[in-house]
């Protein structure tokens, strides 16, 4: 850190942003990997419907297909927002 550095605008560490974005997208793509082709579309349509009722983040819906003893199991998980935050949100 040089003594003249304070003259410059403090840059946001873009590597951290890149890391977080990649973590999310890679996890999402891995969860649908090898599954049926309709999974990403199903996921985005479900997200649309949920957003009509609850305000959730775009990565709130996770879909996973697992096969267990010859049975295919479609696992769906939706992370709902923190109720206190949601209240603050609806208040604005």
């Amino acid at each position: 850190m040089g003594i003249l550095d304070f003259l410059r605008a403090k840059p946001q560490h873009s590597a951290n942003i890149a890391r977080e974005r990649l973590r999310i997208i890679v996890a999402q793509e891995r969860s649908t990997r090898g599954g049926p082709d309709y999974l990403p579309l199903l996921r985005s349509e479900l997200l649309e419907v949920i957003c009509k009722y609850v305000h959730v983040e775009s990565d709130a819906v996770q879909i996973n297909v697992e096969s267990d003893h010859g049975q295919e199991l479609l696992e769906l998980s939706v992370t709902l927002p923190d109720p206190t935050e949601a209240k603050a949100h609806s208040g604005t």
């Binding site: 040089g2 590597a15 990649l22």
Partner: protein, 270 residues
């Protein structure tokens, strides 16, 4: 038994051919008999990086179609006794490569006493890339510390665990290794570039080498001499380390830290 190594990435321009050339050269320096094959039909470039572009008479597709023997098509490296290049065809379209044809050529190379066959994959996830990885025992996934390259590499890792002969037969999985290129420790220290640890954590496979960003890499390709042969270049040393690790040796990573700045630079930045 020949070991088959695919050098792949998904994304173009990350350093696959540079890496193929240096790994093949390094393995040959270690005394192995090595063939390096360009799978990028229509966009041949390995010959240029290896510096043998004017000696290409027959190519990979000629061998597959029976128009030339392997012996005629293999170009012997001028620097190393036991290193051979098989060029891609420049004129045929991508359908010229067939799975049976590729399998036959690799089997013949193995029968010929080759220890290592390095397959330089084309970019993308089309047929050429599939064929380059199909028979692999090892995969070196070349990645730049940059978002699109990391994501594409993950896509390739998915294909390696489902679309290879090992995956189809249920044999032991293809051994996957990450190789970071264009690594700039100064920018990593400044928080402007993903670090080795970041990339390793996101993709979840071990790193076999980190090649620092260096003008020596361009100089090497300009000259047609694989950068691993440049004893002065850090990039060359980093490839030597990567080859040693591929051969099972444990070596600490080098060139990961930013050089210490002088007093003036520390005071005035830059």
């Amino acid at each position: 038994m020949a070991e088959i190594i695919v050098v792949t990435s998904g994304k173009g321009g990350v350093g696959k051919t540079t890496t193929s050339a240096s790994l093949a050269t390094g393995l040959a320096q270690a005394g192995k008999k090595v063939a390096v094959i360009d799978f990028d039909v229509g966009l041949r470039n390995l010959d240029l990086i290896m510096g043998c572009e004017r000696r290409v008479v027959y190519d990979f597709v000629n061998v597959i179609n029976g128009e030339a023997s392997l012996k005629q098509a293999l170009i012997k490296d001028k620097r190393l006794e036991n290193l051979y290049v098989l060029a891609a065809s420049q004129t045929r379209d991508k359908d010229a490569l067939t799975q049976e044809g590729v399998e036959k050529v690799l089997e013949d190379l193995a029968a010929d006493g080759f220890d290592y066959i390095v397959c330089d994959s084309p970019a993308g996830i089309e047929k050429g890339a599939h064929l380059a990885m199909y028979l692999a025992d090892h995969a070196v996934v070349v990645v730049n510390p940059e978002v699109s390259s990391v994501r594409d590499s993950d896509r390739i890792l998915g294909l390696l665990s489902s679309k290879t002969r090992r995956a189809e037969r249920g044999d032991d999985a293809v051994r996957q290794h990450l190789l970071l290129t264009r690594y700039n420790p100064v920018r990593v220290a400044a928080g402007e570039m993903l670090s080795v640890t970041d990339v390793e954590e996101i993709l979840g496979i071990p790193v076999v080498g980190v090649i620092p960003e260096s003008e020596q890499v361009l100089a090497a390709s300009n000259a047609g001499v694989p950068v691993i042969l440049n004893a002065e270049a850090h990039a060359g040393h980093a490839y030597i380390d990567a080859v040693a690790r591929l051969l099972g040796e444990e070596r600490a990573m080098r060139f990961l830290d930013a050089p210490k700045k002088g007093l003036l630079k520390r005071m005035f930045g830059g």
